[in-house]
Structures are given as C-alpha cells and as structure tokens.
Symmetry: D3
Subunit: 339 residues, 6 copies
C-alpha cells in the first residue's frame, strides 16, 4: 500500500465515490461540475486554472479571474467544503519589499504552495514577455512580491511543497510569448528564493499522441513513498486546435529531475460539455491536487475550457497503481536532465 | 436622461425585460434565441450576420444566406414582429445603372441603412479581393449597384444614418483577404456616394484582451445627445481560434472619427450553446440595432457562431450609462485620426 | 429508375425512413446517433472514421481505435444489426508474406473493400511520413500486409470493389505530413496489387465553398448503371478551423477518372452536438456506404467530430437524382486526368 | 513608327547606344551604374527607388533616402545631366493646407508626376498601416500635403501625367502591412484630388513565373499613339526570397484599366553585382521613365537591390515593338476591371 | 584500388588536375566556371540544373532552360569537349505513344540516364502538383513521353543506369508543392517503366547541419565494386534562406536502399561568386557525374545559384576513400527502408 | 576627454588610421579584411563570430569553427599581431567538476571574458533547446564546464569584465529555438556563477529600423568614465532575410540595466562583398572589442556573413562622442528594467 508522506489530514476534503460505469482510467469527475461557473463575481467573466489549499479548517484558493475586460488577474477565494466558493472583489494586493504596491498588467494560472510555513503564489505575468512571477504571504492579506526567478519566456511554474537537498525546487516550462507549439518541463533550484540555478530537464512531450506537442506541470507534487506524484497537462494538436489532457508521473524523491514512472495514457481528457465547449474548447488544465493524509483520497481541481473550475477525484492507491502499471519512460526521462 | 435624436418610434419592436439574474453587463439575451435557425429556406443552410430595419409597420432585413453550396449571397427577409421571419427564395436582384443584371460571386455580412429616404445595402464582395459592395433601393424590389467605394481589401462597412457636414459618412475595416489577424475601424466621406476621401482613423484594437486582435463596426450608429452610439465587434485570439464579442463606443456627433467614450469591457460575449457551437464557434457578431424613439428601448440583432441569428436587448439609458462609467479611451481614440 | 450493379441483397441493413421535417438534402441521420460512443472498449478512448461491410449475415468493421495513449490503430468490430457493435480488445494482427508480425507505429482511417473474394483493409500509416498501408484477409483472422502502394505523403485511399479494365483501381489523396491545407483525389491502377501506375487526376476542390480547401474519397464507390457513386469528404476553412462535410459524385464506370456528375452542394454538414463538439469539432467523415441490392437503400457510416461513429440513410434513387439535378462539373473533372 | 504624345523634348536626357553584345531584350544598362552609390550625403546610408523629372533644363528627383537610422524619408536631388546628382541634406518640408509642418514617421518609394503644371509627389507612408501619401508643389520649396487618397493598406501609387475623361487617374497596389506575398494593380479616379472612386482592376500577377507573386506600377505612364506605356515591377518567389524584375504593358488611352498589350517576358532582371547584392538582393525596381519627345529615347531610372540608383535605356520604337510582339493578355487584363 | 563497373572509357572527358592549394575535400572546381553563363540562347535567361552524357564521341545534355518569361522547359545541348556548349532554340518535342505532341506547362531539373540502350529523360513537371515526368529516346529526335511514375508531389527523380534484380530502379524525393522544408530520398522499382512499386526509404536528412533540412538525389549513381556512388544535394536553412551543398554516399549494389557509407561532411559547398550570388544564392545542385572507365576520373556537372552550369572534378579513388573515411550512417540508412 | 577605466595597455593592438574618404560613422574597416578566410584549418569550413582577448603579449581567441559537417564547436586560436591567426585542430576539451569530459552536440558564438583573473568562455549550446553554456579556465588548457546559468531558450550571453555590486553580471537575449524574429537584451546577476537572479531588462528593439526586429549583446562591455560602452548587433527584416548591423550604447556603471545613451544610427552595416555575400548574406556580428588603455584605440572583431572574421577600428573618443551626439533613449531604456 502506497504511503503519503508529509501530508496532514484534510477532513473537509470534498469527495464522491467512483461511479459504477466509470472507465478504467483512475480519475473520475465530480457530478456537480463545474464547481465555479461563469460570472461568479461582478466584473469577472470567467474563473479557471486556479489552485486550492486547505486553510483554517476550510480551503483557500488563488484563482485566475478573467475580468470583463478580458484581462486576467489573481484573486483569492474561500470555501468551507471545497465546492461552494466566495470570491473576493479585488485582485490580491501585491507589495514590494518596501511595502509599495506593485501593479501587474496581467497575471494568470496561479499555483499556491505551502513551504516551511510560508504560502507562495506563483503565476505567469508580463516581464517584457511571458514570465514567472512570485509572491509570498503568511496571512493572505499581505503579499510580498519576490524577485522574478527567471528570464522570459516561461510559464506553468510549480513549487515543490518542501525543500529538496536544502534547496527550494521549482518546475517550469520555458516557452515563447504566443500560443507556444512546444514545451518541456524543467526543474530549477534556489538556496533563498532569490538566486536560481541547478537547471535540469525533467520531461519532453512523448510519442504518445495525447501529449506530443507540449507538457507543463500542473498541481504541486504530492509526496509518496514511491516518489513525487505529479499531475501535469499534456497537449496534442488537431487541425482545429489544441487538446489539453491530464497526465501523471512519479519523480524521484531526492533527485526529482529523474522520472521514475510516467503514464503513457492520459488520466482525464475533455469529454463533457463544459470541457469541450467554452472560451477555449477541449481543455482540462490541472492546477491543484489536495490529498487527505488520513483517507489518502485526492481531490484534483482543474480548469475546464478556460471557462470554469471543475473537480475530479481519485485515491493515492488507484492513481499510483494505474501509473506504474501503464508506465513508459524514455532514457531522457530517467536521466538527471543535465547537459 | 440621454436623448435619442432623429429616431422615430418603432412600436412593433420586440422586447423582453431584463431578467432578474442577469449580470451587471447592459445587454441581455432574448430567451427564444436563436431567432432564425438552420435551413430556414430551401437551398439555404445557415442565416447569420444580418441587418434589420423597421419597414411598413413591420421589419425588413438584408440577410447573409449561406447556401448549401457554401457560398453566401444577400437575401431579403420580412417580419411583422421582428421574431418570426419569412425569407425570400432568391437573392436580391442587383442591377447596374442601365438596368443590366449584376451577378456577384459572393456577398456577405450586409448592413442596411436608411439615409435621406434611400435604403442602402452594404456588404463584402469579391473585387479582385475582398472589398465593399453597395446598392441602393427605395422599394426593396429594384436594387441599383453603386460604384465600389474602396479598393480591396476591406470588410465591415457601415453607413451613418445621416450625412455629417454635408457628406455621406462610412465606417469600414481595411483588412487582408484571409482570416485577417488585425483590423482597425476607419471613417471615410463622400459628397455623392461615388467618390470617397477624408479618410480618418477611428479606433484600433485596445489593450483590453477581449478586443486585442481586431475590431469592426457592427450596427449602424444610433444618434444620441451624447454622441453616436456604436455597437461593434471585438476579437481576441486563443490557441483554438478567434472569439468575437460585442463592444460599445460613443463617437463625436460632428466629427465621428473622435471617440468620446469606449467601454473597456465587452457588452456581450459568447456563453450560450448557440454562440459557442456551430460553423464558427464563439462568435457574437452585431449587425443591426433598432432603437424605438418612444420607449428608448434597443433591440440588437447579432449573428451567432456564423450559424444563426440571435437577439439581445438593452435601453439607451442603461447602455450609455454603462459605457460612460466604464470608459477608457486612448489619445489615438480621441484624436481626429488623420496622419 | 437507377439500377445497382454487382450489389447483393443485405437484408440485415439498418434503416429508418426519411423524417417528415427533413431538409431537401438527400441524406438523413439515424436518430440513435452516435452508433458507437466514447470508451467503447478498455484502452480505447474514441472510435471513428471506420468502415463497414456485410459479413456472415451481420456486419464486420475495420475501425480506427484511438487508444487512451492517443495513438490510433486498426481494430475489428462485429455487429448483427449494424447498430450495436462488439469491438475486439487487440488491434488486428498484421503479418508479412512470411508470417512474421508487422507492428505499425500508428494506423488510421481504415477502409474495407471486398474484391474478387478477398477483403482488403487500406489505411494511413507511417512510412517515413504519412502514407497508404494495405493488408488482405479472407477470414478476418489472418491479415497479410501488402506492399505499400505509394511513396509518402498520401491519405484517404479507397479501393473500387472490382477490377476495372482488368486492373485493381484505387483512389487516394496526395498530401503533406501535417494538417494539409490542400488535396485532390487521384486514381491509380495495378495489375497485381504490387506494382502501381496509370495515375490519373479525378477531382480538385471546387469553387463551392464547402469543399474549397481539400477533398478526399470516403466510402468505396457503389456501382450503378449511371456510374460509380462516390461519397467523399469536402473541407472548408474558417478562422476557427476546418469543417468537413459529405459530398457526392458519379464517376464513369469504365474510366472512373472522368467525373460525370458532381453535386455542387454538400449532402450532409455538421449540425448536431455530436458532429459540432468533440476531439475535432465540425467533422462528418464518410468511410463506408452499404447498399442493399434488394431495396436499393444505402446506410452511410461516418466519423463524427473525430470522436464517435454515426450513421445516415438514403436511397439510390434519391441520392442519384439529387446529385444529377444539382451537378456542376469542371472541364478538369470531366477529363481523363492525365497530363 | 510609334508616336510619343504630349511629350516635350528633353535634350539633356542621358544616353548610351545599345551595346553590341546585348541580348534580345529591349532595355540595356548604363555602363556607369550605379548612378548614385552608398552614403551620398551625410546621414543617408542608401538612396534607391527614386523618381526623376526634367526640370529647368536639368533634372529634379524625389528620392528615397534611407537614413543611417534605417528610416526612409523623401529628399530632393538635382542634376544637370541626369548622371551626377546633388542631394539635399534635409527631407522635403511638408506643410498642411494651413502651412503647419507635417512630420511623417517614414515615407518611401516616391513617384513624381507633373499634371497640368503642378508637380505631385506620391509615396508610401504610415496611416495606421502602410498607405499612400501625396503632396503637391509648383516650386519644389513649398510642398502642400494632400488628403490621403485611400484607406490602408496600399503601396506603389503612380499618377498618370494628364487627366483622363476629365478625372485625375492613379494606379496603386492594395497590399498588407508586411512583405506582402500578393498584389494586383488597380486604377482609381478623382475629380479633385480629394475624393476618390471609379476603382477598376488593371492586372494581376500572370502565369509567367517572373511576375507570378505580385506586380506594381513603376514609372508614370508614357503616352503613345498605341496607348499608355507602363513600366512596372513583377516579383517571383524563390526559396531564398523575392526577385524583382521590370516588365512592360500598354494600357488603353481612354480607358486605361484595359490592358492592350502585356509583355510575357521581363524587360530587365537582376544580373549584375549591384542588382544581385545589397540590402535586398535581386531587386530591379523602376520608378521613373523620362522620354525625349524629340529623339523618342527613354531613360529608365530604377532602384537596385534597395541600395543604389541605376539607369537603363531604350527607345519608344524598340520597346513598343518588343512588347507587342511578345504580348500575352488574359481576359481579365483586357476587361474594364469592374466587379 | 576501387573499380568502376559497367563504365566505358570517355576519352573526351574534360579534366583539370587538383590544384595545389585545394582543401582536403575531394572535389575541386573547374577554373573556367561557369561553363554556361547567362543568356546562352535567344529567349533563355538562365541555364542550370542540367544533365550530361557522353554521346557520339562528344557529349549531349538535357538542360533546364529558364526562359525570359521565367518558365523552365527542357532543352538539348551538344558539346565536343564538355566545356563549350551549343543549345537548341526549341525545347524537346515530346510525343505520346501515338505520336501526338505533349505540351508541358513547365519542366525542370532534368536527369538523363542510359539504360539498356535507351536514353531516359526524367524531370519535374505539373501533374496537378509538382510530379515526376519521363520520356525515352534513342536518337534525341523522337521523345516518347512515358506514364508518370508517381502521384504528386515529387521531385528529383534519378534512374539507376541498369536494372537491379531485373527491375528498373529509381530514386526520388516526395515533397510538397512549395519550397518544401523537408525531404528524404526513396527508391522505387518497376518491371516495365509503367507500373511502379517496391518503395523503399533510402536516407533522411542527418544530424550533420549542412544537410539537416532536406536531401535529394543528384547525379545518376556510378557503379563501383564498393557499391553505387551517389552524389546528392543536402540543404540547410539559415535565417536568410536555404544553402545547397553536394554530398556523397555509397549504396549497396544489389539492394540499393541500403546505405553502406555516407559522408558526414559536404564534398562541395557554395563559396564562389557564381555560387553565392544569382537568382537563388548559395546553391550547388549536382545533376550529372560522368566517369571515364579508363582513367577513373569523374567530371561532375552542377547548377550554380539557379543561374549557371558549373563543373567540378574528382577521381573514383579520391572520392571513395574520402567518403569511406568520413562515413557516418544511421541504422535507418543501413536498413532496407521498408516499414 | 573620455577615460578608459580598468583597461591595461595593449601595445600589440592592430591598427589603421581612419581613411580620408570614410563616412561620418565612427567605425572604419581594416583594409585587409577578412582577417580569417574560408577553410583556415583542416575540417573547418568557416570561422566567424569569434572573441579575442590580449594574452601573453599577443592575443588569444575563442572561435566558432563551423566544421565541414556543418556543426559548429568552439576552438582556440592564437595570434601575435591580431591579424594573422593560428587555429587549433581540435575543439576545446571541456571537463566537468570531476574532470570527466563533456561532449557538446554543438556550441557557437563564443564570448571570452576575463574576470578577477579567471577566463570565462560563454556560448550557445543545446540544453533541450538553445541555451547558454559556460566554462572557465586560467591556462587555456583546462576548461571546467560550469552550471548552465539559465533555462532555454537563450543566446548571445556576454559577461561584464568585473563584478558589479559584488555580483557577476551577465547580458543575454532570451529567444526561441529557431531563427527568432524577436529579442531583447536582459541582465542577470550571480554571487557565485552558480545561482542566478536579479533579472533586469536592458533594451528592446527600437523604432529605428536598422534594429527593429531583435538586438543582442556583442562584445564584452568596455568601462569608461561615461559608463559601460556596449557594441551590440541590431537586426532588421527585409523580404529577402535579416540584416545584422552594429550598434552602440552606454550603460550605467553601477546599475548597467539603465541605458544612458543609445545611438539611433548603426555604427557599421553590411556594405562590402565579404559582408553582403556568404553563408548568411548581410551580417556584421560583433563579438569582441579590444581597447588599448594607453592609446584609447579600439579594435572591434566581428563575424562577416557567417563566413569570415573581420576587423574594424575606432577610438574611445570618436565612438563615445558619436553615440552621445546621436543618442535616443526610451523611458524603458533608461529604467532599471524590473517589473
């Protein structure tokens, strides 16, 4: 039986049992999807690609709020049960080291990770091109913007929930500034969240067609005795656009640029109306996976069609067994990723 | 209270009150949409992007009829109540000055405007490239084709409903001959509908993402004491294609290349099945706004997903207040647009 | 009254009468569509673009099974009534001349044709580029892979159900290796299914917009006294992707590179949820047309949205009359197609 | 013997006789080419694509001066013999109707034409996109900027040297804002140089490969009894870029949108070092043809490789005979060009 | 010492010894290059990419004549010494089986090969797309056009000078219809020059950058005891266009889809003015290699910059030694090339 | 008079006085260019884009050696006078921290900088995409490869010759993996050459057309009392490819992401045969500027046409005066470059 490590209980975790008629894939959808629909707050047209953490007996989320002017910023949302959400009216109030306000032109696809008692929000913003932005908070009131970790162009950065080898460890996906038709996952480390190095390649798109165009880290990795469980997005290209599916991999606990297992099939792919239709059709974009240390259940939040927030479930046992039984790794996946 | 100018009463105007659960946006949809569905007439597969005018106590429309061979032409349609429509079997019978028939290879996205007692139909046609075509009629039986006002490549031409400074005044959008990933609104004038000049730039795509790729005039402007109310389309690009939303602006009454107010948010964006799914998903394309001089209600006709005709409502009061309160104009918008 | 030639009775043919409210187009949809939905078999995500033949009192199909790793292979499926299908768990077991297994990287869009007592499966595969692959069987257990008939790049190959002038005769569509924005139908012949020549051009995309980007043969042609009835796909391009419709043509019986009639309108175009929404929205892709020699009814199987298998009906009488009455051929269509 | 019409003597015209070893083509190069080399004036890196007129017993030229910041503006140059040129240090001083200065962001490829005693300079400039700019002068000191004749996007506008049917007549080439891979020549007319209409199509690229990508008017047409002699540029595309050659056509004197003769071969194509090497290799771009009414000699000025100004010679007799003997016109060429 | 097989003496072969200061590469240029310059015949602008065979004590060549209308056709040329050439005024007079004339829209890059006493000319032509055309002759007066061997899109077809395994054997490069940014060499066979099959993959572009975009067969292979010596072109892409170099490989004598040796460096790359400057800069395109069975010298004809014909020399000994010593083959190269 | 700081005398510096007929631009070419021609060493086809430092009374250079297989690697070269060079036969022997050899697939455009007694070589290499590689040496025999400083995609990294604010400081240009049609200069810092942060934007392409597509740092900056003198390349795009010119800027000494002066004109642009013709026509690519602390002369080495190494001269006085007198900076240039 696979063990969750460093994962406290989350009794308030939303849950539904696997439906009888489900396919053999290890993820199943919440039947009340979407969890957050259109126009959830005045001035906000769509909410999606948002990250969730347990907080004070309920949940807190950093969300991508696409305002009615089409420009996304990061908002906070709160929920008791992880299903019904209250969204703040104003975007988070970023400050620099000296407490002066920092206004972003845009910010999207935030992830939210707790490391050593500090909450980090990590997003994509403009830095003379698409780049990674970061802030930290301990109270979700004061947000201090950190140094941008990388040069442009980069997206989909996800922090590990603890230091590895004494260093903060971050996954990201170098890209271009447009609709990027390529993309690999890389890993970088920092002693201080200020200077970054030790860049390693983790995974490329594979020969499995559902992820043959680009891939990007999704949820912050979950630590298990088998390794870090990573939910990520894999993208394929059709004559009528991209299709974003959810994939899974297990990274080495001590040297996470090494991929131990990588599932050759998707775990979830767009199939419902709310995934196939919307602002960007055919998108399932995972951003947060909350694991309950007690029951070993996992609730996975994902953006649907760049329009709504949806929810799927699995258990540590089912998803790890499925990934390991359907694993296919390349030499490049298994390597340390340095050249 | 904002006043409508030069706008007679239209007692037959279709209408529904604003629904209780509507968002803060000033437009709301007719709940019987789409008004015209697929295969409305033998040989016609889809009708959309069509313009409507009050006529003889009911309504008349110049419509884009996409025939079963895929080629669009302009048809007439008639309705008593603006909701139920009868479409003619044959496209309009264009004649040149001498009464000889003029056959167009294709014609699409017609607008219909009444100026000084003459009805003008304005569309996009082939003139060794996509270009503006025009005809006039007084009885909707005899249509005289006028000189093409411009060289190619151009689309989305809309006439003002009266002369300004003694000159016919036309908005249009220079483009290329393909799926044009750019586009600004320009204004041109003519003493005689034969020779054109006084070209002025009106608006560019803005930094508000819903309209950051291209924009084009939609309905013929409505005259108010605040200025010309223009409903236009704004387009953004996603990795899976364009999204067309409806925007609003107020142009100076005497020098309409000056934008007085421009709403930074969309007024309507694709959200329903009939807007998100069809021949071209995610399109709301406004072509005619009928205002009732008595009640100051507005019925806005728009093409949905290049597949059907849909209808939305607002009032002069609500839409002008929303636009002015959410206005954001650039120096270029406010300028006369000459270089 | 048009006659079917060389077409035995198929009493088990599925059938529904033309609905009352159907349009003037000669094809109508089965009201239980899709015939095969998502996840029809463990490990298979989607089944579409599949070909059907009467077999042993029921039906057999070679299907495109898009596995959960996103890679398509050819599977067999069996049905008693043509509506309810049982799909094999493993792809067909290809062998070379010596009985050694042949593993394909991928294979898709299979057609299945019976010629002189031998069943031929023809598909698109990798041959250092997209190319035509072929196999033969007499028992649907042993499949011998034949020589690839052509160099890359080619797709949509369809065999005629009998030799013409003593030569095997094949339609195909030369292409590139991507999402090919062009494509004509060509014809080639072979004395022995090993060496190929007598290449002739059949048809180009036409000026009718529904098929102005590319065309490709769909179902194996049906022999009538008027000529070979060919259902094919025609593709148009919108700013949001391709739209695949179904067209019809009649080829000369003795010299089938000559097009006798070609319908200027589509016979079916995406209009339903299952055609407009899915992995590739807006696709109707015909792969097999089963005609009943007794009733002269035709059941047409087509892929919908690259996601499911759907079914439509017509009769020889209706479809031939519609095609001939709406025919428009170019000099190039009518020519022998040699340069 | 072909006659020049409305063409005064130009005794100062530069001239060299046809060399013995010339090919059969009717143009031959000046052996002192280039006439104006690099860095002809402080702050100007390159001069090319410039137009020349006889003036006060010598010549005056409006030239494209590509400054050392890479941005082109229009400068004046003066010459006694048409070979040795003195270039002004500052660009021409444009004024609006009220005498206020008009600063252009850029201006290039000027043509210079004398109509009814007024000199018109016509160029390409920014008007929220590439567009035609115009000014008039009578003394080459005061330049009044006129209304821009067209909406963007347009280039290569050339005025006829006299009104036709009482209307100013202008050739131009609608385009896009980039390196335009298409382009036809159109004609437009104006009663007053303020409002424009009567748009007609003149010629498209032809099946002759040297001009199969785009064409554009070059020198102002020369009036002969056979028709208007037009030197234009024709462009073909290779895997290593465009090649610009010089072509010739004869337009109807009274209805110049009708092409009477069009030479199927180029008259000059890049072959020398100064044409094949430079800022844009492989460019011969004609901008002015000066005809001497006495000798019927023609001196043709053309830009070479977007780097220098070069000169070629012919006679009315030779060039008209060559064009008529090698003429090939399409139905579209010969038509009036209205749709 | 390497032996030439089936290669008669060619005493008239042009020759120059290797210059003292030559690099280590095994090919050296004729110091009188180009052999054929611009305008070699009335109506012909450029001659390049042409093939040469010994004939009646001198040489005969099938040449690509780019006429002054820009359209290429195949012309014959004759020479006593292989250096000074006389070119016919009219293109070759193609006839079909019945003696009726066959007019090609265009034809280019001809190869000329003698098999079993018959001369075959093989070129690229229009067959509803770029495709291979072929003719045979025994007297260079009567040319019978053969069946086109393949469907479009294909270029650079080269016949082996004898049957292999009793079958005519042809190399070619499937492509698209534009400036093709990809391309592998394939092999096909025919019992009768009418029907073609046994398609095999020979080589792909390699990781050696000079040939990392596309490759294509050049000269007809020369038979040696080591295998077939193939001179081919390899293409790389720069930000300013393609660069065509000359490479060398040795194919298995009996199964020539197997590559025994493949030189990892180019043998010649554009370095001179006539190779670096012209209609298409940076092109060395080999089309014929004439070997002298007595001296084992080789004269290689190649097109330079799509503008002229040039000549280089080597010996069987030098070139085979260089290729084998610098060989690098992939598993795919060495395989039989069937999938 | 401007002072050189921290710059020792270089008595061996090559030199020629400014020629009489030079233009007003502050750089003039060495009249013996190119300094290193084609095939300078067995196995090397072309040498260009190479960096030079004074060393042991002469000079040492890290050079881009494009081998005859087309793949570039870094070689060393030595010279007494900076004009005549001896190139090593093998590329530099890179080792990791443990002394194990590191083989690069390719490496190009090296810069060579001396900081605190250690020589750093910095290049572009493959790191699952184009990225910056680095090594250090003190004896030009042992080269230790350092951590890659950044994620892909990046090129044109240049180290400052001393720490600034106690941190190593590096310029670079984030890019894509192809022929990158965009590119800004950024600055990054490191306490230890292992971890990098403090990313700042320095300059974007400007509105001056010679540098309107992309820019990249060229030579390591030269310290003067006015600020850091940076020679960089600026690129414009024509219809026939990119043109690379040399520009100049002065960066703040303490906060070098601030641009104090930026020359609006190029300092040198391709004009000679060896710059306009070659593997990539129209390229002047600066890589090293050697200043003599005694005479304040500067010798600038630049790659010409990606084919040879060339040399130009200036003085500190002339170049700083020209840059400051022709300076044009944007607010973004002058800012600290953080967002």
């Amino acid at each position: 039986m696979y063990q969750l490590l460093n994962t406290p209980p989350v009794p308030q975790l939303p849950w539904q049992d696997r439906p009888k008629n489900a396919s053999e894939l290890p993820l199943w959808r919440y039947d009340g999807n979407p969890v957050i629909g259109r126009h959830p707050q005045t001035g906000i047209a769509r909410v999606f690609n948002s990250a969730v953490l347990p907080y004070q007996g309920g949940f807190i989320a950093s969300i991508r709020g696409e305002r009615t002017n089409g420009i996304p910023l990061i908002f906070l949302a709160r929920s008791k049960d992880g299903l019904s959400w209250e969204i703040e009216k104003e975007p988070i109030d970023l400050r620099d080291k000296n407490g002066s306000p920092v206004a972003l032109r845009y910010a999207y696809d935030p992830r939210l990770v707790l490391v050593d008692g500090v909450y980090y929000v990590i997003w994509c913003q403009d830095f003379y091109g698409a780049a990674i932005g970061m802030a930290k908070t301990t109270d979700f009131v004061h947000f201090e913007k950190l140094e941008n970790p990388f040069l442009p162009f980069n997206r989909n950065a996800v922090l590990f929930p603890r230091k590895i080898g004494g260093l903060y460890t971050l996954l990201s996906r170098p890209s271009d500034s447009g609709h990027t038709p390529f993309g690999d996952i890389f890993l970088s480390q920092s002693p201080d969240m200020e200077f970054w190095g030790h860049h390693r390649h983790v995974m490329s798109p594979s020969g499995n067609w559902w992820e043959n165009v680009k891939i990007g880290a999704g949820a912050a990795p979950i630590e298990t005795d088998l390794g870090w469980l990573l939910f990520y997005h894999g993208v394929t290209g059709t004559c009528n656009g991209f299709v974003y599916s959810i994939g899974g991999a297990i990274l080495d606990r001590d040297e996470p640029s090494r991929v131990l297992y990588r599932c050759k099939t998707f775990l979830l792919t767009p199939e419902t109306d709310y995934e196939q239709q919307g602002f960007v059709p055919n998108v399932c974009f995972p951003c947060a996976a909350v694991a309950d240390g007690a029951t070993r259940r996992i609730a996975l939040y994902y953006g649907a069609a760049d329009t709504t927030v949806a929810l799927a479930f699995t258990t540590v046992e089912e998803v790890l067994r499925y990934i390991t039984e359907n694993s296919e790794t390349s030499e490049e996946d298994r390597s340390s990723g340095i050249r």
